[in-house]
């Protein structure tokens, strides 16, 4: 299939900015992406804007036009909502738009503002990604939902809290040089193991923080790129989207994520690659176990093998397959609706050599993956990014 060229990327710092409006954060990220691409608001044909709880957090529906006008355009726009996969889906829709030639220049991204809701409010908001009737009313919080998966995984394949702690330590370490990261804080395995429990077997460091922030990507169609001699170093060459039942209780296996598997197979097939071609990945590590489930669903590890990957050093920045060099959701932060776009921005910068952790990417690496998951992986997107020239 044809390439969707990445013209530019932009993001705010991720962190706790309770007083910043969503529209202002998205403006910062989107205008930075347009500047990076050397394009102007009037060049934009469509805006795809990912956001999860804005209706609750900012008392604001119909956010698409608000996001577009924040970038200085009244181009057609839409808000894409798929919980934590909202901007992964926004990017997927944008990739389709430029590949079909329906649009030449699009902005895809997202924003989340959550810290203004407080911990209790944000916990309540995030729980909306689970089934209200059969999960939330039975006491399931979002950390609890992944904790249920973690215990089921341990029972099926083995592994323990120390394995998970190594994932947290790795991703915190990766974020130390990322000035956009929410948490630039080195932690030890003991810190993670001794942290207060939030939902057993998870302690505080098994969970990503509650973050605010925005990210955006400018995509350019092949025709526009050719016509304007557009110099894009990286393109999205494969896109995939998978689904599953909403509630964890209805999954055939509680230790596997078929939505990720399906999204990955579609994306690999689309790009004409296989998992052995992948040299680095940003995967959806909202909780430490989520990184394990992602790596196995992506086919980068066999089932039962990824739990020890960080502990063995394989996914660390000096390992064979660096994972979440940005710090991941775990340490870079997880402003829900911005995460998928921020992952694509990170992979692009890592492949182009402009990311502060680019020194961990081997010279022979030309293929990176961005994996974004919604809810307890009831939806997942995978994008394959490749060096374009």
């Amino acid at each position: 299939m044809s390439k969707a060229f990445i013209g530019g990327t932009g993001m705010t710092s991720f962190g706790s900015f309770p007083d910043r409006t969503g529209r202002d954060m998205f403006a910062e990220a989107g205008l930075a992406a347009l500047d990076d691409a050397g394009l102007a608001p009037e060049d934009v044909d469509e805006v795809f804007y990912g956001n999860f709880v804005g209706t609750l957090a900012e008392n604001q529906g119909h956010q698409g036009p608000l996001a577009a006008e924040a970038l200085g355009t009244t181009a057609p726009s839409r808000r894409v909502e798929s919980a934590c996969a909202s901007s992964g889906l926004a990017i997927r829709d944008a990739v389709r738009a430029v590949r079909t030639g329906e649009s030449d220049v699009v902005v895809a991204g997202g924003m989340e503002r959550m810290s203004n809701m407080g911990t209790a409010g944000a916990t309540d908001g995030l729980a909306r990604a689970a089934d209200d009737l059969f999960e939330v009313r039975s006491g399931v919080t979002f950390p609890a939902a992944y904790a249920l998966l973690a215990r089921a995984y341990f029972a099926e394949y083995g592994g323990d809290r120390t394995d998970l702690a190594h994932i947290a330590v790795k991703n915190h370490e990766n974020a130390l040089v990322n000035d956009h990261a929410h948490l630039q804080q080195e932690i030890t395995v003991d810190d993670a193991l001794e942290a207060p429990e939030i939902a057993s077997p998870f302690g505080l460091y098994d969970a990503c923080p509650i973050s605010d922030g925005a990210a955006a990507v400018v995509l350019v169609s092949p025709a526009y790129a050719a016509e304007h001699s557009f110099d894009a170093g990286v393109a999205i060459t494969g896109s995939g989207h998978g689904g599953d039942t909403m509630g964890v209780q209805d999954r055939r296996s509680l230790a596997k994520t078929p939505a990720t598997r399906d999204a990955a197979e579609e994306a690999y097939d689309d790009a004409g690659i296989d998992p052995t071609d992948v040299g680095l990945a940003e995967v959806h590590d909202c909780f430490t176990i989520a990184e394990v489930l992602a790596l196995e669903g992506l086919g980068l590890y066999s089932h039962g093998e990824a739990i020890g990957a960080a502990r063995r050093g394989e996914t660390r920045r000096d390992g064979a397959l660096p994972v979440n060099l940005s710090g991941g959701l775990k340490a870079k932060g997880h402003p829900v609706g911005a995460t998928g776009a921020a992952q694509v921005a990170a992979i692009r910068a890592l492949l182009e050599g402009t990311h502060p952790r680019a020194d961990a990417v081997g010279d022979d690496v030309t293929v990176g993956l961005a994996h974004n998951a919604g809810g307890t992986v009831a939806s997942a997107t995978v994008h394959v990014l490749e060096v374009a020239t």
Partner: protein, 126 residues
């Protein structure tokens, strides 16, 4: 919490409360919970109402220390998923802490009010 009625779900809780739980089974043997018009796993529309087994087995569980506001006074509490054959339920475990539980532990299902809001929840008892 809201006083909104949820047709299908409310009747299901009534039935669990009366010890007459049920689920829907499609002609391919998949179990699912109401309200359903079609099997979410295979699209089959031939759904039959089948009595829920009197006991289930815990398949996974967690102790929640940081709750949503609706469970503020309940925390910490244990939430579990229990298997009742072709269908699983998620509920709060009563009269047992995490140390008393293990995967495979047999439980019965009932309905209990929460301490925080007095809303009905699905509950398991070892």
């Amino acid at each position: 919490m809201t006083a909104t009625q949820e047709t299908g779900y409310d009747e299901f809780l009534d039935a669990l409360e009366a010890g007459e739980g049920y689920y829907a089974e499609c002609s391919n043997g998949h179990g699912t919970l109401p309200p359903r018009r079609v099997c979410p796993h295979c699209g089959d529309r031939e759904l039959e109402t089948v009595p829920l087994a009197p006991t289930g087995e815990i398949v996974t569980y967690t102790t929640v220390s940081v709750p949503t506001p609706a469970f503020d006074d309940d925390a910490p509490y244990v939430t579990a998923i229990a298997s009742f054959g072709p269908v699983r339920l998620t509920g709060i475990v009563r009269n047992a802490g995490e140390d008393d539980l293990e995967i495979g532990r047999e439980v019965t299902v009932t309905i209990e009010p929460t301490e925080t809001t007095d809303e009905r929840t699905i509950a398991f008892e070892p």
